[in-house]
Homo-oligomer: 471 residues x 2
């Protein structure tokens, strides 16, 4: 399938004419940052970097690429963790981060219309200043909203509020051949044929290029607080979560963290975490409009935790304390990164009551394979971030151990009725695990759908469900 053409001088001239020379950069002079995302070990140079400013330009690029069989890899801010924005086959790297206008706040429909290159942090800032709320809360706030949509990004507040998919009302999409379609809209519900919008969400740039987005907003909750609960052991902490779920109190977020990860974060940030008495912690948040309801919720949860062996339950409702806790939580990935030479990540999601079993299994793997494994994650929604650290391992040893550890982890996730990725996507790095997880029937359906949207296979080739020979 992938008999792509290489860009020639005429192609270069076309694109430089279309976008202007500043926004059509030949591959040789492209900044190295554009050759990878946050996944280590995969690095490819595009033949050209294009930075379109309008949907019309994107459409013209796709029409041309389609007619000339040039591969196109859409990219937001390159903050992905699975190689999704790496131009595996060279060709065109389509940087959408310049399409970053906030177009319309519609208060009578509670929607925000933006171009897909707007940063998540800018969406948050814009709506919160107006007393509105965009609930999805992926850790990486400098990602583009288009990137969030393409990975169906999750974040901590999924427990109560769901994920990016739940807040996408409408999309403008440029198809592989340059046609522009509009999916969904400002309507609250629809039963009008197959939900192409939901198919595009999470499709990682393989079915179309998202250029415009209508987001659903909520009113900003008036009150929130955090609860930091130290436990003697990680097992006790994690096994308390299904009891919280059973209690029918719904926190906004339930994170788990281990002492060693907290210490790494302290070192990385150069500032103290408010409590280090324990081996493991649950960190919960609650939000709402009524003091009565929030108080009732956290009292109930605190009691469940204490009955389950928690050492204490600290309420954090001052700016200063929240900042100390959440800046540490926000720095976990960077701190783990800084503590080793290289790492790779497993982002599985399992049913919430199976989180404990999965984490215990990763501890066994650490012993068995002699590699350091660190984890933290969203205990409240079953989505774990497990990092395998290279430290001083030689290249061949590292690769062998990583392969062996990942094979066991993903097999265990399947046995526990889990999925390959909770929120980071499949990209290039997790294709083999997706294939094992969904099996040949679903893989064939996905490939069939890909062929319907992109018969020539030019859109982000080599991602999600590419034929195995290509990977």
């Amino acid at each position: 399938m992938n008999d792509f053409n290489k860009l020639d001088a005429a192609d270069m001239a076309f694109f430089q004419q279309l976008c202007g020379e500043k926004r059509a950069v030949p591959g040789a002079t492209v900044n190295d940052d554009y050759c990878h995302d946050e996944l280590a070990g995969i690095h490819r140079r595009p033949e050209i970097l294009l930075q379109p400013a309008t949907t019309d330009e994107v459409a013209a690029i796709m029409r041309y690429a389609s007619a000339h069989r040039l591969p196109v890899t859409p990219r937001g801010q390159g903050t992905g963790l699975v190689g999704g924005a790496v131009p595996l086959y060279g060709g065109i790297l389509l940087d959408l981060s310049g399409m970053n206008r906030i177009l319309e706040l519609d208060e009578a429909n509670l929607t925000l219309t933006v171009e897909s290159g707007v940063l998540l942090m800018d969406v948050i800032k814009f709506v919160e200043e107006k007393g509105l709320f965009y609930p999805p809360d992926p850790g990486e706030k400098s990602a583009t909203i288009g990137g969030n949509i393409n990975t169906n990004a999750g974040g901590m507040r999924a427990v109560k509020y769901g994920v990016t998919r739940d807040y996408v009302r409408g999309l403008e999409v440029v198809l592989a051949d340059g046609r522009v379609i509009e999916l969904g809209g400002k309507v609250v519900k629809t039963s009008s044929g197959y939900s192409l919008k939901d198919l595009l969400v999470g499709s990682e740039g393989t079915l179309g290029v998202v250029t415009k987005v209508i987001l659903r907003l909520l009113p900003l909750p008036r009150r929130k607080l955090s609860l930091l609960v130290p436990f003697p052991t990680l097992d006790q902490a994690i096994d308390t979560v299904p009891q919280i779920v059973k209690s029918r109190t719904i926190p906004t977020a339930v994170e788990f963290m281990q002492r060693e990860v907290i210490l790494a974060a302290e070192q990385f940030l150069g500032r103290k975490f408010p409590d280090k008495s324990a081996d493991a912690y649950l960190l919960l948040t609650f939000d709402g409009n009524s003091r009565e309801e929030i108080e009732q919720s956290y009292h109930e949860v605190a009691e469940i935790c204490l009955a389950a062996g928690a050492i204490d339950a600290f309420i954090s409702n001052t700016e200063e304390r929240n900042e100390a806790i959440w800046s540490a939580r926000g720095a976990f990935l960077e701190a783990i990164k800084a503590s080793t030479t290289e790492l790779d990540e497993c982002d599985v999601v399992v049913p919430r009551k199976n989180v404990g079993e999965f984490i215990r299994f990763t501890h066994q793997l650490q012993q068995k394979h002699g590699v350091r494994i660190r984890s933290f994650g969203h205990a409240g929604d079953g989505n774990l971030h497990v990092y395998v650290l290279r430290d001083q391992l030689a290249q061949a040893d590292w690769e062998a151990k990583l392969t062996a550890v990942f094979a066991e982890m993903y097999a265990m996730a399947r046995r526990l009725d889990g999925k390959v990725s909770g929120e980071h996507g499949i990209g290039y790095a997790k294709e083999r695990y997706l294939s094992d997880s969904v099996g040949p029937d679903q893989l064939a359906l996905m490939r069939g759908i890909k062929a319907v949207f992109d018969p020539a296979g030019i859109l982000n080739p080599g991602k999600i469900c590419a034929a195995e020979s290509e990977v």
Copy 2:
């Protein structure tokens, strides 16, 4: 494409062997109820009615149907309003209402696993007895949950809680050729390839047969109340809704109703509505766990309504009063039906601030075309139910007027950025309007997807996006 075979004696014998004679009924003796749904005017007899009891039986039926090119129309309780469960091409009518077991309540994951033939009312009863909540609230409680999933049924609580799609965590699906796949699961989030689950939701039995479902539950809110607000005119009532949305108070439901529909419901039910002083009403509900929050919400909303010209605002928090109001609301469709000889329905959804304009337009159409038009609906989510009534019109006149009125209504819905169906689906009756609404590019994508799942086109042929020649 539709060169289906007719069932012969060998086919009959195979199915009677597979399901037993009681659950494999030859077309000639099939009860007339199975030849239609709640859409008037379309009536087709299947060649055989099959009532499978297990997924294995469904799989065996599909394998055989696929090998022998027999059309298969899945059916729940036949409560649909767009002909979705009518066996347009004869063949097999696959009645799933016998697969109605509740399989598992998982309290640690807040999920309920059921077979797809379970009735919505039985799901509601089962979970509410346990203090749990299945928020989607379509009016027709005797529909199957499989039918709800296939139409992505909505209901009144969409304003606050969303629709059926938002509560489907996992599906077991039998494909057109009899293979069985499992989509999603008990996990709270996933970014693991294209969301086939979301593609199946709302696909009206054209992509696969849903046999098992994992539903997401919430804790049952501890408090709720209704607010009935009379207005001097319908315009004032409806135009208040965008102001409520803007106020950032989120009611659970916001319905609008007109005096004439209320009177019809009174007559139909033989009981009194608590207030008839006004020409139009908004009926709102609020729910939650905290008295403080609910009180604050309805006070805010009541003040907005009074400032917008409402005559009064009646709080309804007694069983008796709620019953009087909601039994009337629940009887609207039946009451309108009983008031005429035949009717057809338009279920468009528009952005919330455009509801008033759409309803005013239907009033003009009533004058212009000389037909009675009645409406009620979900002002809070923009989904309207507009009924064109035949009354004493002769057949040809009725057909001509209905076609003309619908053409104008659906064109207006498009101009107002609306969609063909908010919650009833496309089925057979709304195909032409879907085609006009989404245009050729999206229609081609939908047809391509259909061909990926069902290359021979045997699954519910003639629905959603069939080639025009077939309709």
